[in-house]
Each structure stands twice: as structure tokens, then as C-alpha cells.
């Protein structure tokens, strides 16, 4: 197995407590940053590391930090986006519940780099037990002098708060998160202005994913250049993947970016192949929002090269033959999976989670779900298959926030790659609606 930077000590007994974490090299990054580095130098290290946002979009973290407006006498904020709710993604929950101090350490270093005096961790409402773990860890960090006034005698002070959401997927969108954190309805804001200029309480704000912030700790410990040596090309470092679905060994894997997808799925070191000796049918590589790919395209690119677990390789071929790395929610589906049902299920989720603010998403997500429901339950027509593609196209790119795209992409991709399966549902409604019936290509029935 490759090198682990985040989860190296995850199985150490009591690592969630301050003492054990400290004994295993914890808070070295904060000491190093506060005692020997200026905030600009911390930002530079993160820039050098090539770290890309781990929440899904993959925007370079160092660059995001350098965009932060810094007007005189105006407070700035660092907000950690711990509202992880994408179906298939559960890496942040794992990281926070096992290694709460890693996130806190990253928050301190990040806040120092950005000049934030107060920072927030906005956590998903359902993760109440993680919230308690974090609050306990924060109390320990205060007691040890790593939070509060004049940290380590450096003159830098920081207060850190954890704030739970109320259970809305949309609050994982950064501006909806900020609205919710301000105590308002979690509707995404119109951009511009961007959070880097007017974020929380209309102050300059950086919103980062849990894993991005945690990754700052190894970057500061080993140096940005060392971190950048890991990985391939512009996909540097390690990343957590939450593998789930029909795998022999689902779970959280920390991988050095660049591992071939085939090795990740089939190697005993990682997922150990598809369960019950079945065949792989399709993979959703980065959480439910990214396009689904059939087996042939997830293992090899259209050009016949090995598909790697990197931002670039997974998106090779655009949306025609590629997908996205996304948030690392790796969902594998075996040959018994009905793609139509799965697509309907995803679109039911987006229908439920649309905030209802802008018209294409509010009306379109519901429409998609209803038509897919019809197709799945044997009442669809050939026309409906084109209809879902057309509706997805009407939503995509025309909404306030990316939830519109997240709802449209999986539907468009499912029809793109599995059109024959949709058509089979229309042509053979009786067979298709039998329990457990699955299309296996060329009219072969189970």
C-alpha cells in the first residue's frame, strides 16, 4: 500500500484524544507555522503542494487562499465545509470521527495563513455524534493552549466553533452553507460577489472541505514540495476514497493519486474485486453527481490507456467517455444492478434536495424524477428517454448553483452509456418490472 499522510495513525488506540494525537506527532504543523513561518509562507507552501480541493470541484486550495480579499480592519473567516451529504461519499465523516485533532490542527494552520480570528466548522446535522467528538477535541485543544488567546505565545489568537446544519444537502454548496451559518434559510447566493470578497456576514471568507484542510497538516510538516512529489501531474498528494457498492472490501482508502482504477477495484490490497464473484457493470467514480461510466470506460480511457485515480485521467474524454474524480465517493455496481432504477434513485435524491429557489432546478428535478419513475416502472415510452435528456439539458448550466448540474449529469450519462437498457424497459415492461429483473445486453434476460 502507498504512503498515507492523513490516516497513518488512524488505528492507534485513543488517537481521538489530544494526548495520544500529540504523542504521534500531532500539532507539529501548528507549532512550525506559528513559530517559524509568516502567514504568506504558509499560503506559499500550500500553493507549492499543488493541493486541489477535496470537496468535489478540485480547485487548487492555495490559489483559493490567495484570492481572499484582505481589506484593512475587516475580519476574515475560514469555514470548514463538513456538510458531507453526497450519496456515496463518507470520507469526511470517517476523518472527523477518527482524527478530530487533525482537522482542528489544519483549521488552526489555515486560519493563521488567512488571518482569521474566528473560524467555523459547519457540520452536517445528521452527524451529531461527530459533532460531539469534535467539540470534545476542541475543548482539549483550548485546554492545551492551541486555541484561544495568544496561541503558543505567538500573539496569534483563534476561536473555533462547530455549527450543525439541519440536514440539507444544498447547505454543502458554499454560499448556501454561509447563509445557513448566518442563521438564514440555506439558499445559495447569486455570484458575484464570491465568498472570497463577501462571504460570511459579508466578510471575506474561504470555505474548504474537511479533507483539504486536514491535508494542510502533512503539507506543513513535510513541506509543499515533498507533498507535490506524490501523485501524478497536477493531481498531487494522497486522497481519501470512500469505496462502496458491490465490492468485496468497501470502505475508506487513502490512495496516492495515480493508482490505476483497475488495481483499486480488483487488488486484494484495496477493494478486493466485485462481490459474489460477479462482473462489474458500471462505476460512479466521484459521488452520485458525476457521470456514470460502464466497465469498459472506467477501466480504460477511450484511447485505450489505463484509467488512473487522478483528476485528469478520470475526466479524460470529457463527458462523452469520461467522468470526474469529484469527492471520491466510488460506487461500484455489479451486473445485477438496474441502471434505470439507479438513475431514478439518484434523481429522487436531487428532487428532494433542490432548494426550490431557481426555476429550472425546482421544476426540472421533479420532472426528471417523475419521468424516470415512469420508465423504471414500465409505463415509459421511447419518447421519454429523449425527454429526460432534453430536460437534463434544460437544467444544466442554467441554475444559480451546481445542484442543477449535479441532478442533470447522472441522468444524461446514464442514457448516454446505457440507452439500450432504457429502451429495454420501454419495450419489455412486463419483464422489466419483475422483481430482480435486469437487462444484460442484447435482449438477454436474467
Amino acid at each position: 500500500m502507498g504512503r498515507k499522510l492523513l490516516t497513518e495513525h488512524v488505528n492507534v488506540e485513543g488517537i481521538e484524544t489530544f494526548e495520544v494525537y500529540r504523542k504521534h506527532g500531532g500539532y507539529r504543523a501548528v507549532e512550525k507555522a506559528l513559530k517559524t513561518m509568516t502567514p504568506e509562507e504558509v499560503v506559499d507552501e500550500v500553493k507549492k503542494s499543488g493541493l486541489r480541493g477535496r470537496g468535489g470541484a478540485g480547485f487548487p486550495t492555495g490559489m483559493k487562499w490567495s484570492f481572499l480579499a484582505k481589506p484593512e480592519g475587516v475580519p476574515r473567516y475560514l469555514v470548514c465545509n463538513a456538510d458531507e451529504s453526497e450519496p456515496g461519499t463518507f470520507k469526511d465523516r470517517y476523518l472527523m470521527s477518527k482524527l478530530p485533532h487533525l482537522l482542528i490542527e489544519g483549521m488552526i494552520a489555515g486560519s493563521y495563513a488567512l488571518g482569521a480570528r474566528t473560524s467555523y466548522i459547519y457540520i452536517r446535522g445528521e452527524l451529531l455524534y461527530v459533532l460531539r467528538i469534535l467539540e470534545k477535541a476542541i475543548a482539549e485543544a483550548y485546554a492545551a493552549g492551541f486555541l484561544g488567546e495568544n496561541i503558543l505565545g505567538s500573539g496569534y489568537s483563534l476561536d473555533l466553533y462547530v455549527h450543525p446544519g439541519a440536514g440539507a444537502y444544498i447547505c454543502g454548496e458554499e454560499t448556501a452553507l454561509l447563509e445557513s451559518l448566518e442563521g438564514k434559510r440555506g439558499n445559495p447566493r447569486n455570484k458575484p460577489p464570491f465568498p472570497a470578497v463577501q462571504g460570511l456576514y459579508a466578510r471575506p471568507t474561504v470555505v474548504n472541505n474537511v479533507e483539504s484542510i486536514a491535508s494542510v497538516v502533512p503539507i506543513l510538516n513535510d513541506g509543499g514540495d515533498e507533498y507535490a512529489k506524490l501523485g501524478v501531474g497536477k493531481s498531487t498528494g494522497t486522497k481519501l476514497f470512500s469505496a462502496c457498492g458491490h465490492l468485496n472490501k468497501p470502505g475508506i482508502y487513502e490512495l496516492e493519486l495515480g493508482l490505476p482504477v483497475e488495481e483499486f477495484i480488483y487488488s486484494d490490497e484495496y477493494c478486493g474485486g466485485i462481490w459474489k464473484g460477479r462482473e462489474l457493470k458500471a462505476v460512479v467514480a466521484g459521488g452520485s453527481s458525476v457521470p456514470i461510466l460502464p466497465k469498459e470506460l472506467i477501466l480504460k480511457t477511450a484511447a485505450g490507456e489505463n484509467r488512473l485515480m487522478t483528476y485528469e485521467s478520470l475526466s479524460d474524454g470529457g463527458f462523452v467517455t469520461g467522468t470526474m474524480l469529484g469527492s471520491g465517493g466510488f460506487i461500484a455496481m455489479d451486473e445485477t444492478t438496474c441502471i434505470v432504477k439507479n438513475t431514478w434513485n439518484f434523481s429522487r435524491f436531487y428532487h428532494h434536495e433542490s432548494c426550490g429557489q431557481c426555476s429550472p432546478c425546482r421544476e426540472g428535478t421533479g420532472w426528471l424524477e417523475k419521468v424516470l419513475h415512469r420508465l423504471e416502472h414500465g409505463h415509459g415510452s421511447m419518447h421519454d428517454i429523449d425527454l429526460v435528456v432534453s430536460v437534463a439539458k434544460q437544467i444544466e448550466g442554467n441554475t444559480i448553483c451546481p445542484l442543477g448540474e449535479a441532478a442533470a449529469w447522472p441522468v444524461a450519462a446514464a442514457v448516454r452509456h446505457f440507452r439500450d437498457e432504457f429502451e429495454w424497459h420501454v419495450k419489455h415492461p412486463k419483464e422489466a418490472t419483475q422483481p430482480g429483473a435486469v437487462y444484460r445486453g442484447a435482449g438477454v434476460l436474467v
Partner: protein, 338 residues
């Protein structure tokens, strides 16, 4: 100042102006439709996506096109920006899609809706939509709730533009209604059943682009195109109201009082409930003259307004007409927007 090219027309506007307002400066057919943006309401806009336009060049400094269509009502102009609205097939196509989306859950009950004839969605669908629908499933409906003696809420017609929410926020002290629920189940409501009771509550009727909020004192009295709008004013004792209104006449009866609106349906001066609901006699008002209504509006079908002809701008008038005008000059009443 920033100079932009909108549909091939150059216009110069102050920095920070939105694309929509730059287009309104040009006026006429190039102006994008707006269902949720409302100039007097801070924070409004960006929601309905009706005003999406294509930015073919971001600015003189960075002439790259913007990757997605942008909402013209909230996007500020940059010097050298090139915007395509009616000249872009993509924009027109997307707008068709927006009409379709908005009409999914909006009932086509125009024949019994008091807003018909002055409805933004009706105009929008007429101008940009298609006459068929591809939606076959059940449509969203709501239980009727009572929000007070003056304002009728028809939630089923609501397109969730949030204008009434901003109005209540910015005009009154305690907003009691808002958006409840999420997605296509969101609704305007008062939590828990409450009546909207303040001196300016009637203004939510004027800002509503559809017939979701209508005037209870005017319900089912008359189709709007059978009435004649007259601008009028009175000395209003309310400190925030200056009593400048439009009276809607049928014969000698004042059926309805509204605030005065400009050509984009935007209220310039808010009026109080006393002026709106309690003063329905001609004797209460000082009449200024007919309110201007656009020729293309169905409200103009009554042809109540005398033609406004200005020989100085129309060069080639026949001599007989010029002579006729000199002998019988058109009445100069009110003029545009009073």
C-alpha cells in the same frame, strides 16, 4: 462609465450597472424579460432565470466569453462587454425551456385569474414559450390558506420569485410570511397560520408577477382590459405614503387602486393600505389623467387613451392630418406615467 454592446447596440452606462438595466436603457424589444428581479427591492433577482443572456466577450481586458449563460439582472457590466440576447439562438432556446419549467406547476387558469391581462408570466410565455407541453404528470397543488382580509393567496399560481418576501422585509417591520418547505414543495406561507397585518401589506399584490397574490376588494369584479387606468393623487396622512396612485375605472366606479407602475411593471412609489383599499370614490382623489399603458398590452384593447401624436418627431405626416391636429389638438392629460 462602461461601454457595452448589447445585441449589436452600443450603450454607455455607469460602472456597476447590471446588464439588464443597461438593456433597459436601450429599451424596446431587446430588453430581456424579468420575472423575479424588481429594481426597488434590494437582493431580488437571479431566481427565475428568465433573463439569462450570453456574454460573448467578458470585457475589453479579458474578451473571453463567459462559459455559462448569466442572469442579466444581477451581473454587472464590464467595459467592452459584448452581450447577446435576442441575437443568440442558445438564449432563445434556453428561455423556451424556462417557460416550460415555469408552466409545469403554474395552472392555466387565466380565464378565471384576476391577473390575466397584466401577468408577467402570461406575457413571458406568449413571447418566448411554445404552445404545447411535454409534462404529463400530476401538477402541484396547495391547500388554500387565509392570510388576511385584503390579500388573497393562490399558492398554486406562485412561481416563487421571492418578491413579496423582499417587499415585506424592506417595507415593514415584522415580516410574517416567507418561503416554507423546499424544492417544488416550497410555498409562500405564514408560520403558523397568521394574517399579514400592516399598513403596507397591499404592496405585495403589486409586486407579484402572477396571480398568486391578488386584491380581495377587486376579485372577480372585472377583467382588467375592460377597465381604464387613471392617475390620481390625494393628501395621505401616512408618513411613508405620498398618495400617488392609479385608479382603475369601469364607467364611473373605481374598482381598484394600485400603485403606479413603469413600463416594466415596477412600482416607483409604494402606497399604504388606506389609499389602496379604503378610498374607492372619485371624490377621494384629485384626478391627473389617463395612465399610459403600452400599445401592445391587452389593457390597451379598450382604446381609452387618446393618441399621442407629436408632429415634430413624425416628419412625414400627411398635410391633412397636420391641419386636423392644429384644429383639434390632442388632449394633454397626464402623459407618460403621469
Amino acid at each position: 462609465m462602461a461601454k457595452i454592446t448589447f445585441d449589436g447596440i452600443e450603450v454607455e452606462v455607469p460602472d456597476g450597472t447590471t446588464i439588464l438595466n443597461a438593456a433597459r436603457k436601450i429599451g424596446g424589444g431587446v430588453v430581456p424579460p424579468a420575472m423575479c428581479y424588481y429594481t426597488p427591492l434590494k437582493g431580488s433577482g437571479g431566481k427565475c432565470r428568465a433573463c439569462l443572456v450570453r456574454v460573448a466577450a467578458g470585457s475589453a481586458k479579458d474578451p473571453r466569453p463567459m462559459p455559462k449563460l448569466v442572469a442579466s439582472c444581477i451581473t454587472p457590466v464590464q467595459d467592452g462587454m459584448v452581450v447577446e440576447n435576442t441575437t443568440s439562438p442558445q438564449v432563445l432556446d434556453v428561455r423556451k425551456g424556462i417557460v416550460e419549467m415555469l408552466l409545469i406547476n403554474h395552472p392555466l387558469d387565466c380565464p378565471v385569474c384576476d391577473q390575466a391581462g397584466e401577468c408577467d408570466l402570461q406575457n413571458f410565455a406568449f413571447e418566448h414559450g411554445v404552445s404545447t407541453t411535454r409534462y404529463e404528470e400530476e401538477r402541484r397543488t396547495f391547500e388554500k390558506i387565509d392570510i388576511g382580509p385584503y390579500v388573497q393567496l393562490h399558492m398554486t399560481r406562485c412561481i416563487l420569485c421571492y418578491r413579496c418576501v423582499y417587499t415585506a422585509d424592506q417595507l415593514t417591520d415584522g415580516r410574517v410570511h416567507g418561503v416554507l418547505g423546499r424544492g417544488d414543495a416550497s410555498e409562500i406561507g405564514t408560520y403558523i397560520e397568521n394574517i399579514i397585518d400592516n399598513d403596507f401589506s397591499g404592496n405585495v399584490i403589486d409586486v407579484c408577477p402572477v396571480g398568486a397574490l391578488t386584491d380581495k376588494t377587486w376579485r372577480f369584479k372585472q377583467r382588467v382590459w375592460f377597465t381604464k387606468p387613471m392617475n390620481a393623487h390625494r393628501e395621505c396622512s401616512h408618513e411613508k405614503c405620498n398618495g400617488h396612485v392609479t385608479l382603475w375605472y369601469k364607467g364611473k366606479d373605481v374598482l381598484r387602486v394600485t400603485a403606479r407602475k413603469d413600463e416594466y411593471g415596477e412600482v416607483k412609489e409604494w402606497i399604504c393600505n388606506e389609499c389602496r383599499f379604503d378610498k374607492k370614490e372619485t371624490a377621494d382623489w384629485i384626478i391627473e389623467g389617463p395612465a399610459h399603458v403600452d400599445r401592445s398590452s391587452v389593457v390597451s384593447q379598450g382604446h381609452y387613451e387618446l393618441p399621442v401624436i407629436n408632429p415634430q418627431v413624425i416628419a412625414d405626416l400627411p398635410e391633412s392630418t397636420v391641419r386636423d391636429l392644429q384644429q383639434n389638438p390632442p388632449l394633454k392629460l397626464g402623459g407618460f406615467n403621469g
